[in-house]
């Protein structure tokens, strides 16, 4: 079970995690992109943290939608509309909810990931954030079906995201800015896959610390 308060604390924690990892993400992006992924994400989630003040009292669906809208209008770049869509779609399937079961959370994550895929059209091994989402949700689903609880399922998801993130290193990018590097994109970890991992990790840490 994930409560509304935990969702809020997750997003707050994520804002600090991304602020801390700003340079790290930007460095990853400077190797195969334009050196702004850290700045983009930190800027966007700082805005989300501000926004949370006024929406924390509403429901989970609303909080996630507000998060998505805020990311949409403050991140820019490729990642802005992708993560924006993730949260807006996630919000749409959690309308008026005060808490999420392990199934609900899975539904929310799947809806979000589907949004990212529809918007960005990336498939597995394009070397994008999708390469973190796919194994993460596969692991989550397996755990959920096996009857594990939310925290346990999320622990699997985080491990899956981390593996997927690392597996982007040997890939050649076929989507986004990195694709123009061709073979020169090989050998670098995808920044978006990394922020996806940080996102799931922050949710897990929130659940575990409460």
């Amino acid at each position: 079970m994930v409560t509304k308060e935990q969702i809020v604390r997750w997003l707050e924690r994520l804002a600090s995690v991304l602020a801390e990892n700003k340079a790290y993400l930007t460095d990853l992006d400077s190797a195969i992109g334009d050196a702004d992924h850290g700045t983009n994400m930190a800027r966007g989630f700082a805005k989300v943290a501000e926004k949370l003040v006024s929406v924390a009292d509403t429901d989970i669906g609303n909080i996630l939608k507000a998060t998505g809208m805020t990311l949409m209008s403050s991140v820019g770049g490729a990642s802005g509309p992708l993560y924006g869509t993730f949260f807006m779609r996630g919000g749409a399937v959690t309308a008026s909810r005060e808490e999420l079961s392990v199934e609900d959370l899975g539904e929310m994550l799947h809806a979000g990931m589907q949004g990212i895929q529809q918007r960005g059209r990336a498939i597995a091994e394009d070397k994008t954030m999708i390469d973190a989402w796919i194994p993460a949700l596969a692991a989550y689903d397996t755990a959920r079906i096996a009857g594990e609880d939310t925290a346990a399922a999320l622990r699997r998801a985080v491990a899956g995201a981390e593996a997927g993130m690392k597996a982007t290193i040997p890939l050649q990018a076929r989507k986004g800015r990195a694709s123009y590097l061709g073979e020169r994109s090989i050998g670098h970890q995808d920044p978006g896959a990394t922020s996806t991992y940080l996102m799931l990790k922050a949710l897990l840490d929130t659940l575990e610390s409460s």
């Binding site: 949409m72 209008s73 802005g80 989507k175 694709s179 123009y180 061709g182």
Partner: protein, 357 residues
Amino acid sequence: MKKLINAVENVVREQLEGMASAHADVLKVSYEPTFIYRADAPVANKVALISGGGSGHEPMHGGFVGKGMLDAACPGEVFTSPTPDQMYAAGSAVNSGAGVLYIVKNYTGDVLNFEAAAEMLAGEGVPVQSILIDDDAAVKDSLYTAGRRGVGATVITEKITGAAAEAGYDLLQCADLCRKVNTSSRSIGVALTSCIVPAAGKPTFDLGDGEFEFGIGIHGEPGRRRLPMASVDEITEMMASAILDDGVYTRTVREWDQARGEWVDKELVNAPLRSGDGVIAFVNSMGGTPVSELYAMYRKLSGLLDARGIRIARNLIGPYITSLEMQGASITLVKVDDEILKFWDAPVLTPGLRWGV
């Protein structure tokens, strides 16, 4: 980093304020969300043209807002795509009822943000079309990349489609013409130096004293290859071949289907230039290269086109789509027909491009 700026956080905002006060007769600027729009918008019965992208490419796009060109432009932070709320607000502000055409450079960031905006605007019942500009011949394929980037052709399509909108073309006609100009265009760029993004404070890339980058986009992103520095004649020859020897370019792009209210795939084809074709030859400075050097490039280019039987029907030479202070240049060739030439010659009154008025 030495630039005529104040605090890096305020660079774009302050430059826009200066622009607004300099060109109050032509344009206005809205902040929160940020967009530049025609002083007389919405123009009754006219299709509204909107473009946008990261800042740092001035005069594009804000400098092309005005009579006969764009109705609005959405500037992002330097080299960062703007966000859907800007594009949506701009669309709402300048739509006269005849609809909104988004002209979108093919960079994943720009594309995704404009797509979100188009959905929002269409959701309000505003007729929307969205055309992708993807003319960068430096990118070989679209199977293993995000497709060709939008570069010099952007300026040309904005000018020509802007004139058509002024002449009364409806939304679908504007979209068709815009797409036609794009599929008639190919570009190639080179960088001699890097530029410095204010917020970064250091050069985007390191280029040795004796080398140049061939096939860059408009941010100094890596090109096809890095080569030992060469003469303008040699560089121009390489650039011209990259365009002239480029085969048929076919790719699938996503366009908004107004009737169905969803995105549909469209196959676009650029045919190679052939002897007998007439072109608009656009020789563009990346910012730091003086116009005198562009003339040296134009000299060689016109000789090469002549030898191929390609006629320069019009030309445009100067800094129009730049990367801050980067030294370098790009060449865009646009195959023309009577419709394209007529709208190219039509009056335009913007801070960045002006004739006939």
